[in-house]
C-alpha cells in the first residue's frame, strides 16, 4: 500500500482507529462492535471528580464572599471556636482512615470485616454530624443565631452546606454497609461494589479535607 500522506492535507485528522483506547466500550471486531456489559469503573471515578469540582467551586464562591465580607465592614465579631468542633474534626479524620481500611479490605475480598469497617465509618460520620449539631446548639444557647453577625452567618452557612454534602456521602456509606454481598464469581457485582466503595471513599476524603479547610477558614484565617 502506498503510504503517501502529502496529497491530502491534514491526514492526521483521518487515519485508522488507534488500538487499545480506554473508552469503556469496544471489542475489536471490524467495522462496528457490540457493546459488552463490561462495567466501566472509570466512568464513576470521572463523574466523582467532576462532581467534586462543582462542589469545590461552590465553596470557593462562599469563601470569596467570606473574605470580601470580612474585609468590607467593621461589623465583624469573631466567634470563639466551639470546643465540640475539635471533636468533629477528630471524628471525621478517623472516619476517613476507617473507610480507607474498608475499601482496601474489599479489594482483598475479606467481606465480613469489610462490612464492619463500613459500619464503623458510617457511625463516625453520624458522630460528626451529631457533633456539628451539638456545636450549633451550644451557639444558639449563647444567643448566637444565623443573623447575629456576619461571622455567625458564615459559620452556620458553611458548616450547614458542608453537612448537607457530607450527609450525601453518609447515605452512600450506609448503602455500602447494608449492600448484599455478591455471590462468589459474580464479577460484575464485585466490580460494581468495588467501584461504589472507591468513589464513596474518594468523596468522603474530599469531605474530610473540605471540613478542615472550612474549619481553618472560619477560625484561623480571620
Amino acid at each position: 500500500m502506498a503510504t503517501s500522506t502529502k496529497s491530502l492535507p491534514k491526514t492526521g485528522m483521518r487515519g485508522g482507529p488507534k488500538p487499545g483506547r480506554p473508552n469503556g466500550n469496544g471489542s475489536p471486531n471490524g467495522n462496528g462492535h457490540a457493546f459488552t456489559p463490561r462495567f466501566s469503573a472509570s466512568r464513576y471515578r470521572i463523574g466523582m471528580w467532576v462532581a467534586m469540582a462543582a462542589i469545590l467551586m461552590m465553596f470557593s464562591a462562599l469563601s470569596s464572599a467570606y473574605i470580601v465580607r470580612a474585609a468590607s465592614s467593621n461589623d465583624w465579631r469573631s466567634l470563639a471556636v466551639p470546643p465540640t468542633l475539635w471533636v468533629s474534626t477528630l471524628l471525621i479524620l478517623v472516619s476517613s482512615v476507617s473507610l480507607e481500611i474498608a475499601r482496601r479490605k474489599l479489594k482483598t475480598n475479606r467481606t465480613n470485616s469489610t462490612r464492619l469497617w463500613f459500619w464503623i465509618s458510617a457511625a463516625l460520620g453520624i458522630g460528626f454530624l451529631a457533633s456539628q449539631i451539638f456545636a450549633w446548639r451550644s451557639l444558639v444557647r449563647q444567643g448566637i443565631y444565623v443573623a447575629t453577625n456576619p461571622h455567625s452567618s458564615f459559620f452556620y452557612l458553611l458548616t450547614a452546606t458542608h453537612a448537607v454534602h457530607l450527609f450525601g456521602g453518609l447515605l452512600a456509606l450506609l448503602y455500602l454497609a447494608m449492600r448484599k454481598q455478591p455471590k462468589a464469581g459474580d464479577d460484575l457485582a464485585m466490580a460494581k461494589g468495588q467501584a461504589a466503595a472507591d468513589v464513596t471513599t474518594l468523596y468522603w476524603h474530599f469531605m474530610d479535607v473540605l471540613w478542615i479547610y472550612v474549619f481553618f477558614l472560619l477560625f484561623f484565617w480571620k
Binding site: S7, N23, N25, F35, V50, A54, A61, S73, V146, S153
Partner: protein
C-alpha cells in the same frame, strides 16, 4: 456480526408509556423533553416581550385583555410601571435560563452528543432524567412567581406564607440580574419584592442543580464513552462546543447557587451579606442589617453571568460549524483553530465578568484589566468568524432551511458580537452602560444568534429525531421574515442607546431628550410584532411535521457524522447493538477522487472509497 452481539443491551428498551415517554432514561427522549420545555418557555418569554413593546410604543393605551388577565397589574387595561418591570425581569430570566440554557445544551446536546461520539446513552441515565425533572420544577416555580405576585387573591393567601406579596405585578422586579439591595430587603423596596422574589431565587437555585447534573453527565460521557476510533480530534465541533459548555456550566452554576443562597438568607433570615446598614425606605429605617456589600452580589452574579453568555452561544457555534460544513459540502476550515477558539472563549469567559461592573464603584484599576481581557475575547470570536467564511470559500452551497439559519447565525453573530468592542472599553461604557446599546448588543449575539443556531439545529436534525423533514417552504418563509425582522428590531436599538435611552424604563414619556426617538421605538415594536407572529408559523411547522412531514431516510442530508449512520429516528440504544468504529475526521466532504462527495466517519478503508484515483491514501496500514 454474530447474532449474540445484537442481543446485548446496557438497559433494555422500556415498554410502558410512562417509562418510555415521561420518566424516560433515554437521552433522546430527555433531549426532546428539554426542547419541548424550551419551546414552552420561549412562548412565555416572547409574549412578554410583545407586551413590553406595546407599552413602550403606545404608553397609556388601554388593552382590555390585559385587564381581564391581570386586573391588578393593568387597571383599566393600562399597564402599570411595576407590571412592566416584572415583565422585564421574567422575560430575561425565562429566556436566559429556560430557553438559552436548556434548548442548546439539555435539548440538542442531550440528544446528539452520545450519538455523535458513538455511545449508546449518557454515562448516568438516571442523573440525566433527574436533571430534566429538576429543571422542570424550576420552571414551574418561576411560573408560580408570576401567579403569586400577579393575582391579588393568591398574593393575599399563598403569598403571605412565602414572604408577603404586594400584588399588582406579574412577578418579581429586579431584572434578570436581581441586584441587591433592591432584591434583598423585601417589601419596603416596593412592589415585586415579596414572595415572587423568593420564588425567583428558589427557581434559579433549582435550575442550577439541574444544570449541574446535566454538566456532570456531559463531561463524563464525552471523556469516557467515545467509541472506538473516536479520538478527541475526530469529534464533530458540536461535541467540542457541548463539552466546553458543560465545563463552563460546571464551574459557574455553583457560584450562582452560592450567591442565591446568600441572597435568600438576606431576605428571609435577616443576614447581611449584601445589605448595608442604615437603609431608609420612605419612613422605614432598616436597622436589622449592617455592613453588607451590594457589590459582592454583583461579583458573584457576574462570575456566573458572563460564562452563562457563552453557555448560551457556544452550542450555537458548534451547530453552525457543523451545518455550514455539511451544506457547503466542504470540510470545516481550520478545525483545530476552531477547537482552540472554543477553548479560548471558554477560558477567557471566566476572567471578564468585571466588564458588567465598570460603573459599579469597583476599583478603576481592575476595570482596566477587565477591559483589556474583554477585548481579547474578541480575538477567538473573530477567528471563528474567519473560519466560517473560510468554510464557505470555494464551497458548493446547498440552500436548505438549516443552512439559511446557519448563515444567518454567522451574520448575526458578527452584527451582535462586534459591538462588544464598544462596550468592552471601560471609557466607552460611561455613556453606553445601561442604555439600549447594551440590550441591542446582547440580544443580537446571545439571544438571536443563539436562537438561530437552535433553529438551524432543529431544521437540520428534525429528520433524524422524527424520521420526517420539517416543511421547507414554511421553514424558508420563517427564515426570511425572522432574519430581516431581528435586524429591524435590534439595530435601531444601538442608536437609541447612543442618544442615551436607558434600559428598564417603563415609559419614555418623562424625558425631553428621548422624544425624538419615538419613531424608532414604534418601528422596533412593529418589527417585533411581525417577527413574533412568524414564530407561530414555526410552531405550526414543528407540530405539523412530526405527523405529516415528508419522510426522511437515514442520511437525508448526505452528512458524515455518526448520527447519520443509524436509523431515523435511532433505536433505543442508538446503534441497534453494534457501536460504530470511526476511521476519520468528521467533515470529509469533497475528498478528491472519492466516489461520493462525502466520506462517512465509519467508512473503513479510504482505498476503496478512492479506488482508481492515484492521489489519496491515508497513512495507516490495516
Amino acid at each position: 456480526m454474530s447474532a449474540e452481539t445484537h442481543e446485548v443491551h446496557r438497559h433494555p428498551a422500556p415498554t410502558g408509556f410512562i417509562r418510555k415517554y415521561i420518566f424516560s432514561l433515554d437521552h433522546k427522549v430527555i433531549g426532546i423533553q428539554y426542547i419541548i420545555l424550551a419551546l414552552a418557555a420561549v412562548l412565555v418569554g416572547m409574549t412578554m416581550s410583545v407586551l413590553m413593546r406595546l407599552n413602550l410604543s403606545w404608553p397609556g393605551t388601554s388593552w382590555p385583555i390585559l385587564e381581564t388577565l391581570f386586573p391588578a397589574g393593568a387597571p383599566g387595561g393600562v399597564m402599570s410601571p411595576e407590571f412592566y418591570l416584572s415583565l422585564v425581569t421574567m422575560h430575561g430570566t425565562i429566556m436566559v435560563f429556560f430557553v438559552l440554557t436548556t434548548a442548546p445544551q439539555g435539548g440538542f446536546g442531550n440528544y446528539f452528543l452520545p450519538i455523535q461520539i458513538g455511545a449508546e446513552d449518557m454515562a448516568f441515565p438516571v442523573l440525566n432524567m433527574m436533571s430534566f425533572w429538576v429543571t422542570l420544577v424550576g420552571f414551574i416555580v418561576i411560573l408560580a412567581a408570576i401567579v403569586v405576585e400577579g393575582n391579588p387573591a393568591i398574593a393575599a393567601s399563598i403569598g403571605a406564607s412565602l414572604g408577603g406579596a404586594s400584588g399588582g405585578t406579574v412577578g418579581p422586579i429586579g431584572g434578570w440580574t436581581g441586584y441587591a439591595p433592591l432584591s434583598a430587603v423585601g417589601l419596603p423596596a416596593g412592589p415585586g419584592q415579596g414572595a415572587g422574589m423568593n420564588l425567583w431565587i428558589v427557581s434559579i437555585a433549582i435550575f442550577c442543580i439541574g444544570s449541574l447534573l446535566g454538566a456532570l453527565n456531559f463531561i463524563t460521557t464525552l471523556l469516557n464513552m467515545r467509541t472506538r476510533g473516536m479520538t478527541l480530534m475526530r469529534m464533530p465541533l458540536t461535541c467540542w462546543a457541548w463539552f466546553t459548555t458543560a465545563v463552563l456550566a460546571l464551574l459557574s452554576f455553583p457560584v450562582l447557587l452560592g450567591g442565591g443562597i446568600l441572597l435568600l438568607l438576606d431576605r428571609t433570615v435577616g443576614t447581611s451579606f449584601f445589605v448595608p446598614g442604615g437603609l431608609v425606605f420612605g419612613s422605614t429605617v432598616m436597622n436589622t442589617h449592617t455592613g453588607g456589600s451590594p457589590i459582592l452580589w454583583q461579583h458573584l452574579f457576574w462570575f456566573f453571568g458572563h460564562p452563562e453568555v457563552y453557555i448560551a452561544i457556544l452550542p450555537g457555534m458548534g451547530a453552525t460549524s457543523h451545518i455550514l460544513s455539511t451544506f457547503a459540502r466542504k470540510p470545516v476550515f481550520g478545525y483545530r483553530a476552531m477547537v482552540f477558539a472554543i477553548f479560548a472563549i471558554g477560558l477567557l469567559g471566566f476572567f471578564v465578568w468585571g466588564h458588567h461592573m465598570f460603573i459599579s464603584g469597583m476599583s478603576p484599576y481592575s476595570a482596566m484589566t477587565f477591559s483589556i481581557l474583554t477585548l481579547s475575547i474578541g480575538v477567538p470570536s473573530a477567528v471563528k468568524t474567519f473560519n466560517w467564511l473560510g468554510t464557505l470559500w470555494g464551497a458548493r452551497i446547498r440552500f436548505t432551511t438549516p443552512m439559511l439559519f446557519a448563515i444567518g447565525f454567522v451574520s448575526l453573530f458578527v452584527a451582535g458580537g462586534i459591538t462588544g468592542l464598544v462596550l468592552g472599553q471601560s471609557s466607552l461604557d460611561l455613556p453606553m452602560h445601561d442604555t439600549y446599546f447594551v440590550p441591542a448588543h446582547f440580544h443580537l449575539v446571545m439571544g438571536v444568534a443563539s436562537i438561530f443556531g437552535m433553529f438551524a439545529a432543529l431544521y437540520f436534525w428534525f429528520p433524524k429525531m422524527f424520521g420526517r423533514f420539517m416543511h421547507e417552504g414554511m421553514g424558508k418563509f420563517h427564515f426570511w421574515i425572522t432574519f430581516i425582522g431581528v435586524y429591524c428590531i435590534f439595530v435601531p436599538m444601538h442608536t437609541m442607546g447612543m442618544v442615551g435611552m436607558p434600559r428598564r424604563f417603563a415609559q419614555f414619556t418623562e424625558y425631553e431628550f428621548l422624544k425624538s426617538l419615538h419613531p424608532l421605538v414604534v418601528f422596533v415594536s412593529i418589527s417585533a410584532i411581525v417577527t413574533v407572529l412568524v414564530q407561530f408559523l414555526f410552531y405550526f411547522n414543528v407540530i405539523w411535521s412530526v405527523f405529516k412531514g415528508k419522510k426522511a431516510d437515514d442520511n437525508p442530508w448526505e452528512a458524515t457524522t455518526l448520527e447519520w449512520t443509524t436509523t431515523s429516528p435511532p433505536p433505543h440504544d442508538n446503534f441497534a447493538g453494534v457501536l460504530p468504529t470511526v476511521y476519520r475526521g468528521p467533515y470529509e466532504f469533497a475528498v478528491p477522487g472519492a466516489p461520493k462527495d462525502y466520506l462517512m466517519q465509519t467508512e473503513p478503508d479510504i482505498e476503496t472509497a478512492v479506488a482508481g484515483a492515484g492521489n489519496g491514501h491515508n497513512g495507516h496500514k490495516h
